[in-house]
């Protein structure tokens, strides 16, 4: 009995230990960290190589790997390695930002539905169900194609380089919140009947305070799991839209739009089609493994 006391661990420590047992998840997290580091070092590598990422060099189209271009060049003579690193920055950042936005919307809707129940719950969950039941990709394509000047934005702003970044984050966030909302609602439903919530209500805490101070902190682990698992699909969605020419606009590189021209060049330069896709695949599968590991770590009951 006494040894059990000595060896007691906080739930977080226990979760960390269970996560550490998940070898694939650990390896994936390490790989993602490495990738993030490489992407963060892009300007350094740019400086070392002495070429810039968007520098066009038509005398050096589709060059083979060399000291100056370790992975060769693309159809405009731009350095492939640098484009991959800068593209990775864009893909990872949009992925993280869009997943975070989607999670915020989903948490707000899920917590309101679960806490207030009744009619609020019915309306919000019917909304969620309806969005889940829609063919998303075709609708997202329309959203990505709309003319922002018709929404009152100035032409200068609507055509600026960074707007394609913000636009894609908004588009993905608008549609990606449903999974988080469902998860959060379910967890809130069980939390609101717990003693500490009843006690808080008993001493006269307002709904807002209960939701923020008592329920939200307890939702952290399902939210973290949901976000990690959704980053993968968000990055996939961004790459698909960019590939179709509707997401990140060139010359800003993203892994998706680097593949757009690769299809036409598939006979001349197959390697251009391989690298960006491989990076998307590795990144997404790593996020999925980490999410799976976190799920097992936070929710040991789900383990089989």
């Amino acid at each position: 009995m006494s040894s059990a006391v000595h060896h007691s661990h906080s739930p977080t420590q226990l979760a960390l230990r269970r996560f550490a047992r998940h070898k694939l998840a650990i390896a994936s997290a390490a790989l993602l960290a490495l990738l993030a580091l490489a992407v963060a070092c892009a300007p350094l590598i740019e400086w070392l190589l002495g070429v810039s990422a968007n520098q066009v060099d038509l005398y050096n189209r589709l060059a083979a790997p060399s000291w100056q271009h370790p992975m060769g060049t693309d159809e405009l003579g731009r350095d492939t390695l640098l484009r991959l690193l800068y593209g990775g920055r864009v893909s990872l950042l949009t992925g993280l930002a869009a997943a975070a936005c989607a999670a915020s919307i989903g948490t707000l809707i899920g917590i309101c539905a679960g806490y207030f129940s009744g009619r609020t719950d019915t309306v919000l969950m019917r909304l969620t169900d309806s969005i889940i039941a829609l063919p998303l990709l075709p609708l997202l394509i329309v959203l990505a194609a709309i003319d922002l000047t018709k929404l009152g934005l100035s032409a200068q702003l609507a055509n600026s380089e960074s707007i394609s970044l913000y636009r894609i984050i908004v588009i993905v966030a608008l549609t990606g919140w449903t999974t988080v909302a469902r998860l959060v609602r379910g967890a809130t439903l069980s939390l609101r009947e717990r003693e500490f919530v009843l006690a808080a209500r008993g001493i006269g805490a307002s709904d807002w305070v209960i939701m923020r101070r008592h329920i939200l902190p307890n939702l952290l682990s399902p939210i973290i799991v949901a976000v990690t698992l959704s980053i993968g699909s968000v990055i996939l969605l961004e790459s698909v839209l960019s590939f179709l020419g509707l997401g990140i606009q060139p010359p800003l590189a993203s892994w998706g739009n680097m593949l757009t021209n690769a299809q036409q060049l598939i006979w001349e330069a197959p390697q251009l089609a391989i690298y960006p896709g491989l990076l998307i695949f590795i990144t997404v599968i790593c996020f999925n493994f980490v999410g799976d590991g976190l799920q097992d770590a936070f929710d040991p009951k789900a383990e089989q």
């Binding site: 019917r126 309806s130 039941a133 829609l134 063919p135 990709l137 075709p138 609708l139 394509i141 329309v142 959203l143 194609a145 709309i146 003319d147 018709k150 929404l151 993968g232 699909s233 996939l236 790459s239 698909v240 590939f243 179709l244 998706g256 593949l259 690769a262 299809q263 598939i266 006979w267 197959p270 089609a273 391989i274 960006p276 896709g277 491989l278 998307i280 695949f281 997404v284 599968i285 999925n288 493994f289 799976d292 089989q304």
Partner: protein, 319 residues
């Protein structure tokens, strides 16, 4: 049951009605309008002419008036002309729907035929090499970018080996072999992406069922392991799987947008993409609505199927 069907159908219809407004409004927000296209086709047109044309076509009316006019015509069967194809919208849409159905049904059947046995075998021997393999493949399946897989398949089978065409659809009168050769790569792309998820559904449904008492009873009375898995457990495990598959089938009508676009397969997905990109407003609205309606119908069928297959689910009475 009748009440349940009615409620669900009403909800689906409501969503469809709301989506028709949303889609109409979104298409209205796309760059340019039909008169801009006329201007670019006719350099002699003055801005006064353009304004007069906008007046005639009602494009200066507020959005809700235009929507109601469109809806009125649509409900009478007048869906307008496609600008890109120069044909009535429906004449363009229906063949595309057929092509998508051919592609998707083939891919779906192949994926199901491979995934269900695979998932069952994995569940029958948990923690075996096969189980880990299926699990890894499932993760790969949801993490693969569809367009990249398509590019890799083109690279291997069309460029390097030269066995299969890189895209397009065989003309209507072509021999069956030629048709199948064109179908092979798009079908392989869609099927590969779905096998992982389907086998995972099957695996977890099977694991769930294998825990039940009647499985232990079957084993205790001496039924062979093969009989327990494939006869006693299999049918019960299929219930949740069939529902998920039905749900997925609805999405297949519109979900192959990327695959169809890359392989130039003339289906619904490519049609929607081309219509949106080519400012074909009439076609885009109707094609999007068709895709939405079909997906909602698939969902509705999945819901009803689930209630029908599993008698434990009481329908009609909420809570």
């Amino acid at each position: 049951m009748g009440k349940f069907i009615l409620a669900r159908s009403a909800q689906a219809l409501l969503v469809l009605a709301v989506m028709s407004v949303v889609i109409y409004a979104l298409i209205g927000l796309m760059p340019g309008d039909p008169i801009d296209l006329m201007i670019s086709a006719d350099p002699k047109m003055t801005s006064a002419d353009a304004a007069a044309l906008r007046e005639i076509y009602g494009l200066n009316q507020p959005l809700y008036r235009r929507y109601l006019a469109w809806l009125g015509a649509a409900l009478q069967g007048d869906l307008g002309y496609s600008r890109l194809f120069g044909q009535p919208v429906l004449d363009v849409l229906l063949p595309a729907l057929g092509n998508t159905l051919l592609l998707m049904a083939s891919a779906f059947l192949i994926a199901v035929a491979i995934a269900l046995p695979l998932g069952t075998l994995a569940a029958a021997k948990p923690r075996s090499a096969l189980d880990y393999g299926v699990n890894l493949y499932a993760f790969a399946g949801i993490s693969l970018p569809s367009f990249w897989l398509a590019l890799l398949l083109i690279m291997l089978f069309s460029v390097t080996l030269g066995w299969l065409p890189a895209g397009g659809m065989a003309p209507a009168g072509a021999p069956l072999g030629e048709q199948l050769r064109h179908l092979a790569l798009p079908v392989a792309t869609v099927a590969t992406l779905h096998i992982g998820a389907y086998s995972r559904y099957m695996r977890s449904a099977m694991l769930e069922v294998l825990r039940h008492d009647y499985i232990r009873t079957a084993r205790a009375k001496g039924a062979s392991e093969r009989r327990v898995v494939w006869v006693h457990a299999w049918r019960n495990a299929l219930i949740p799987v069939v529902t998920i598959l039905a749900l997925d089938f609805g999405f297949l009508f519109s979900g192959a947008l990327v695959t169809e676009t890359i392989f130039s397969w003339p289906g619904m997905g490519k049609l929607i993409f081309d219509a949106v990109m080519g400012n074909d407003f009439n076609l885009a609205i109707v094609a999007l609505l068709f895709a939405t309606a079909l997906t909602l119908l698939g969902n509705l069928i999945a819901d009803l199927l689930y209630a029908k297959l599993d008698p434990r689910i009481t329908v009609g009475r909420p809570r």
